[in-house]
Each structure stands twice: as C-alpha cells, then as structure tokens.
Amino acid sequence: MISTLGRFTLALALGIAIYGAIVSILGARRRKPALIESGRGAVFAVFGLATFAVLLMEAALVGRDFSIQYVARNGSLGTPLLYTVIAMWGALEGSILLWIWILALMSLLAVVMEGKRNREAIPYATAVLLCISAFFLFLAAFPANPFAAIFPPPADGRGPNPLLQNHPLMAIHPPCLYAGYVGWSVPYAFAMAALMTGRLGEEWIRTVRRWSIVAWGFLTVGVILGGWWSYEVLGWGGYWAWDPVENASLLPWLTGTAFLHSIMIQERRKMLKVWNLALIITTFALTIFGTFLTRSGILSSVHAFSESTIGPLFLAFIGVILLVSFGFLAYRSDGLKAEGDLDSLVSRETAFLMNNLLLLGFAFAVFLGTLFPLISEAVRGVKVSVGEPFFNKVNVPIGLVLIFLMAIGPLIAWRRASLESLRRNFSLPLLLAFLGTGVSSILGVRGLYPLLAFSLAMFAAATVIQEFAWGVRARRRISGEGYLTALSNLTRRSRRRYGGLIVHLGVVLVVIGITASTVFRLEKEVSLKRGESMHLGRYEVRFDDLTAWQEAHRFVVQGTFTVLNSNRQVAEMRPSKRFYASEQQPIGTVDVRSTPREDLYLILSSFTQDGASATLKVLIRPLVMWIWIGGAVMALGAFVAIWPDRRVLAAEPVKERVAWQPGRS
C-alpha cells in the first residue's frame, strides 16, 4: 500500500513540477498573472507532496515494512529507532528523496520571501527551480524509486551499512551537506532569471547575496561535519583523506567562497558582471557534479553508493545545465560590460581578484587531481592513484597564499590604497605575526610550511582583531559606550563586514588546528598483554581488559585501557571492534579523548581470541578540537552576516543598461 501510494505521490509531484515550470514561463512571457500564480502554486504543491513522500518513507522504515525494497535493504528489526529513522538517507534512493525534499523546501522559501521584491524575476526563477526538482523527481519516479516493492517481502531487512549506524553524526551530516548543496540552486535560479529577463543590473546580486551566504554556511558546516565523521567514525586517525567525494564537497565551497567575494566588487564598482554569473553557474554545476561522482561508479570512493544506471542521466543533466546556462550568458554578454574601471593596482579590488584566482586555482588542483586517475587511464591506459601526498604537496602552497590574502584583504582600501594607509594598517599585525613566528619556533615548529602557516594565521587573526578594536575605539570616542555595547553596535551597523571578519577568524582557527595536528602528530602501534603499558608523548596507556558481548544487531569486542599522565589516571578508554552479520570485516570503533590542547586517539587494531593480548594504535594529535571550533565560528560569522539589518534600505532606482521590452527577453 505504501509502495503504490509513494510511487503515485512522486509521479504526481513530477507532473506538477513540469507543469509549474512550463506555466511559469508562459505566464511571464505572455504577461498572464493567473499562470504565474499557478506556477507559484505548483511550488507549494511539490513541497506538500515531497513532505508526504518523506513521511511515507519514514512510516515504512519505522514500521519495518519489508515489502518495500528500500526498507528491506536499509532497515531491520534489530536496528535502533534513531538509525532506522536516519536510514532514510543512508542509501541512494532515499538520499535522492532527501534532496528532493530540501530542494522543495528551499524553492518554497525562495518564492515566498522573494516574491514581492522581484516580480519580474520570480516566474523564471520558479521555473528553473521546478526544472531542477523535476530532474530529481524523475530519478526518484523511475530509475531510483525508493518505493519499489519487493516480492515476497523478507522476514527481516539487511539493516543499514554498519558504518552508518555507528554514530549519531549520521543524523546531521547529510542533511546539512545537502542543504549546502541545494542552497546554491536558489542563487543559480535567480541568476538564470536575470539572464532570461535581461534584467542584468544589481537587482539579482542583492537578491542572491543572502541566499548565497546561507548556502555557503550550510556547506561549510556540512564539510566540517564530514571531516568530523571521518575522524570519529571511520576511525583511521585522520579527518580528511582527499577522497573523491570529500573533494567533490570542497569544490563548490571554493567557488562559492570566490563568488561571495567577487560580488562585492560588482556591488561597489559594477565590474565583473560576466565573471560573477559564470561563477554561480559553475558553483551550481559543481553541486550536481558532487552528487554525480558518488552515484556513477566512475571513481572509487569511501562514499560510493551502489553503482547504478543513473550516472549517465546525471551526466546528461550536468551537460544540459552547463551548455544552456553558458549559452544564455554568451547571448547576453553584450549587455554585461563593466561600468567602471579600476583605480590602482594596489587596491582591495585587485586583492579580491587574486583571491578569486587562488580559490579557483585550488579548486582546479582538486578537480584535476580527483579526475586524474581517469585521465591517465584514458590517455595512457595505466591506472594511477592520486591521494593525500599529491593534494598536500600541491594545495598547501596555494592555501598559504590564500591565508596571506585573507590577512591583507581587509587592510587594503577600496579603489586606491595609499602607502600611508598601508603602513598604518599593516604595522601592528605584521609585528604580531613576527612575534608569533618567534613563539612558534620556540615551541618547536620547524620547516618552512608549518612556520608560514602559523605566522600567516596569526597575521590574519591580528588583522581581524585590529579591525574590531579600531571600530570599537571609534564608536567609544563618538558615543562613549562601554566596550561590549560598542562591539555589538558596531557589528549590527555593518553585519556583512564584521560577520565576514568573524568567518576569517574561524578560518584561522581551522588552519591552526590542521597545521598543529599534522606537524606535531605522534603515533605508535604496539601489541600489549594484559596489564602491560605503552608510552607516547606525555601519556601512558595500559591494557586492562578485553570484553565481548552480543547486542541485538551486532557482536562487540571492547578493550578497556587506562590512560595515565604523570602517573595520575586521566581516563579510561574503550575502543572496540563491532561485528555485524551483514559485513565480512568488523567495523572498528575508536575512542577519542579530546581536550583543547590535544586529542588522544585509540584504535583497537586486533586481538587474540583468548583476550590475553591486543594490538593498539595510539595517536596524539594536538589542537584538533580547534578545527571543529573554527568551523562553528565560521558558521557563526555567516549567521551574523545574514541577519537582516534594522535599517530599511531605501528603494534604489533601477539602473540597467538593457531596456525593458514587453513580451520579449
């Protein structure tokens, strides 16, 4: 019953989405408000149907309805409730359903929130969003149907992949990441609307700014959570392996960050119009590309869903998006000439151009490295691997220059930075950076890259703090407020600027965390008998006990280890190995003790059957916690930046170059 109902719902949603897209365009071209209203209604309807489909799927999962193939493959009688619920997005078909639902929700919000201000663009944006929804609905209705039935229904399901039921992070990482991916559909839709209507002025940038920051914020959190998941759940001691799907999530983040910076140039100087449109198209295409990589089977990855036939469909979709979007861009390019010129080589505009270049260079390196195994096979017929050593060697220098730009960007004035202003702005941060470098090397940092990383990070932090300090000082001089009031008023007056600075501070924390945890990493693998200890760094780890027990859905072997620091017991840690019926190899579960100073990471590598001895791998990674904290700070900065200003912006006169013509675009 659920199967038929579910399939019908998806098919109906597909039909309505296609209808809504056609009707929106027709209504806009023929100036028929009734059709436009109908298109708007379609967005509401698709959201309603998508919500219903999600609820149906959850009902089937929680109700253990094994007559549905997806439930039979991803649910089981023994799986705990939480993991049953989140199994909805654990495999291919369900993940597409999640994408559909988030896209429907964002389309709805876009239509509702932007409806009044953008009357001309909205029908086209609606049509674009509905077309994207239609593609995913098509996938869900036909090749990858989550409601496909299985006959006869098995007595018990296979259960979710054990890696997906080891940790509650699985509940938030995919939805957050998907919100980040899907979020870019809205700016893309408005960009396409601008191209289609010919309204290529600053209107679309203003509309799109907030949505872009929201998408960026979710994507940032999604990527950081992915790193956390890799660290805590996959249990190999690291948080980033340059796996193809990790890279695929990083690519739109990089181009999206570039976009957020370069639209500032367009807002102030009315330049880079074509570039910004190209960037948003690329960012959106990359979000679909990431999804494509994990579902097509062309690259092996930790994340690969089952190989399926939808790969070619995704590729066709990406091709259509790129060719159509860039086609429109080329068609309209004559109306997109820059309206200004740069005043000086030394200016923030140039710094932002360099920022864009390096972010895209970084993205290009990641893209090339990810696809290079395929390229090598196509050209030479030889399979090669491109992994961490390559990406670290190529990306670290680029990243360091980016941090340098991040540090100096806020210190260089728009238009023309005079030598005087540069000297004034740079002296204190530079001095602090040098002091910081000295401190780092005293603390034991050696090597050019690590020292550079630390000093540039401190340079960037000093810049941010200086900006806040000067702002607070200026406010206090004028109004005599207290420090905190001044700080809050300062931020409120110029949310984007100070929110952005907070984001930079978050990046600094992430960089410091990554550098410290890589450079000062200690590791050791030792076989221990009961009662024996091993030493690493400041810690002594003693193997106490090995216990085993059966749970409903798995068999667990757990080691108990006492951790001592200077002969005082600090913790008892319990890494384990979990044996699932459906898996040939056990899943290791690590135990991590996190403090702001360092992480102590224990992996139970192997053990003897009688429990007399166990092989333990111990890692010490300093400052890892600051990576997660930095991610949260970045999200906070984005949040500050998008919070609406209390000031009501006066309506600006429309100043496009392209004359509006009725009935034609």
């Binding site: 249990g235 190999w236 001691g237 392996a241 340059w242 796996d243 193809p244 330049m271 092996s300 990855s301 930790v302 820059a338 200004g340 010129d341 740069l342 005043d343 000086s344 080589l345 140039t350 151009l353 360099m354 270049l357 390096l358 895209l360 260079g361 390196a365 090339l368 490295g369 290079f372 390229i375 090598s376 030479r380 030889v382 399979k383 090669v384 691997s385 491109v386 992994g387 961490e388 050593p389 390559f390 060697k393 190529v394 680029i398 004034r424 002296s427 530079l430 090397s441 050696r446 090597g447 050019l448 020292l451 550079l452 000093s455 590791e523 190899q585 992996i603 590598s605 192997s606 791998k617």
Partner: protein
C-alpha cells in the same frame, strides 16, 4: 621601522630553513614515511600508514623488514610497483604524462596572475585616460579640520 622588519624577515626565513639537527631518522619514522606513500589495496583511498586493515598491517611489516635488510625507499617503492602497478603509489610518479597533474595547477595560476595583471593595468590606464576631471580644490576650512582629525586618528 622598515629595516627592523626587513631584518626580522631575514631572521625568520633563515630559522625556518636551518637544517634539522637530528641524526638519521629512526626506522619507525622511515616506515611511516614510506607507508604514507603507498596505497592500501583493500581500502578506499587510504594510505598503508593510515589503514587499520590486516593487509595494510602486513605491508607495513614487509616494509619494516625490507628497511632492516638495507633496502632503500626507492627500491621498496619499485618492488611494490612491480607487483601492483603504478596504482599502488598514492601520488603519481613525477615522470612523463604525470607532470600534467603536478604542474598544470601552478601553470594555470601563474597564467592567471599574468591575465589579472594585464586586465588590471588596462583598466587602470583606462580610468586615467585624458578627460579625467581634476578634483576641485578643497575648501580651506574643511581642509584644516580634516588635517586635525586625521592627526588625532593616527594617534
């Protein structure tokens, strides 16, 4: 001030480049370094050093034994490549076609710097083209007030 900064810069760079005073790297560290370059054949994109799998354990043991026997890292890498193919190395060997992967990003960025330089210069010269109106002279009352406030700001 500038000379102080310059000398600090020189000192910093020298400090960073000062060769590591430590004697020959320990065996374990060598094993770890090599293991980080080899791909674990049974995992997804993990190095032999990072992988918790049994095969990776066995490979690490083999590397350790070979190093003890006096083989050089290059010989050990060559051994694995002869058994598994180039695929076993986690970074493409820097030869022939693989240089595309290593150099193209940097080439693209350097090319981009050139393009930006050209575009910016052209834009700047366009903005300085003849017909650039002279700014009207500053009203002396405001000028002196401006000077005073700027001086105060600089403190």
């Amino acid at each position: 001030m500038r000379s102080v900064l310059q000398s600090l810069l020189i000192v910093a760079v020298l400090w960073a480049w000062w060769p590591c005073a430590a004697s020959a790297i320990e065996l374990e560290e060598q094993v770890q370094l090599l293991a980080a370059e080899l791909r674990c054949p049974v995992c997804q994109n993990l190095s032999v050093g990072d992988s918790p799998s049994e095969m990776a354990n066995q490979m690490r043991e083999l590397v350790r034994e070979k190093l003890k026997n006096g083989e050089s890292p290059e010989q050990i890498r060559a051994y694995f490549v002869s058994r598994y193919g180039e695929w076993i190395l986690l970074a493409p060997k820097r030869q022939g076609f693989n240089w595309v992967a290593w150099l193209l990003p940097f080439g693209a960025i350097l090319g981009g710097v050139g393009v930006i330089g050209f575009v910016v210069r052209r834009s700047v010269s366009r903005s300085r083209a003849p017909g650039d109106a002279q700014l009207p002279p500053l009203d002396p009352r405001y000028a002196s007030r401006l000077q005073a406030e700027l001086k105060e700001w600089g403190q």
